[in-house]
Subunit: 143 residues, 2 copies
DNA sequence: CGGGTTTTCCCATAGTTATCCACAATCCCC
DNA sequence: GGGGATTGTGGATAACTATGGGAAAACCCG
């Protein structure tokens, strides 16, 4: 289980350190892809495998299913850790998530999220404002 | 599994480099053909075999099935890699997919797609709007 | 046949990427 | 608190790859 929030720097070679606690759980094999709200998702290989399989089984003949599978699959990249526990962020993902220098890495149970610090703060303050309303809605979901 | 997005240039001899990660999986034998949404599909020989079989079994009586099978079967060509991992794009396929200079090569699980960069960007923004609520879709897939 | 054109194969080079190493700061345990 | 191990960050070096030409072979077409 991934929990907690960490900040790191991306260097000019697009390398990003992953928190040691997460490294063990990822076991050298992970997949990074486009996430929601302009962040990136990092999945353990196994989690990704089942997601990708489901995506691949969507019907090729339906335009919207095709498009959806394309977005998720083409956005994904296997990541390798160097022997210091860093991963490489491909350009197109770096752009997608507006990653500059200061990065927030956060654990969200079964996945890891990668945010630019500024985006992260923005998102947080937005959520904090709305948190009252959200709580109301969550109640409907039985939380 | 083919995943990820890469950009390459076609040179004036219509040669196109295939990402090293994909080369290994293709193992020197591949088939290129017309794809859906004005891109090209590139299949490993084995995948192509089973797909071609399915296409041949589509009911001859239905006009659209007939058209679809024709599109893919008549467009197909075996591709050879030169010793630097490049393939040759035949003229009629190059025209079909509007390939100019900057090309996007993307992995979509069991096939590779080849897009002109401009077409790809257009398609992406269109899909992002349409698919909009990715989260909802993910829920349907049980993720 | 022969001239010109296209295709195929091979190599050069510049740029990029991966791997390895250094150092300083931090953490942790005794 | 002290000392050893761990970790974050930045470079350096070596390996690889993208791209562009050049030469040889094949292919036309008259």
């Amino acid at each position: 289980m991934f929990i907690g929030e960490y900040t790191y720097l991306i260097d000019e070679k697009k390398r990003l350190a992953v928190p040691p606690k997460f490294r063990q759980l990822l076991k050298k094999k992970a997949v990074i892809t486009r996430g929601l709200d302009q962040c990136l998702f990092l999945y353990p290989a196994k989690e990704w495998g089942s997601l990708a399989k489901k995506l691949s089984q969507l019907p090729l003949s339906q335009a919207d299913a095709r498009g959806f599978a394309r977005l998720m699959l083409t956005g994904a990249m296997e990541v390798n850790f160097d022997n210091l526990g860093r991963i490489l962020i491909p350009d197109y993902l770096k752009n997608y998530a507006f990653l500059k220098k200061k990065i927030v890495i956060a654990g969200v149970y079964n996945r890891i999220e990668i945010w630019d610090e500024i985006q992260w703060r923005k998102y947080q303050t937005k959520i904090e404002k709305e948190v009252g309303d959200i709580a109301e809605r969550l109640k409907e979901l039985g939380v």
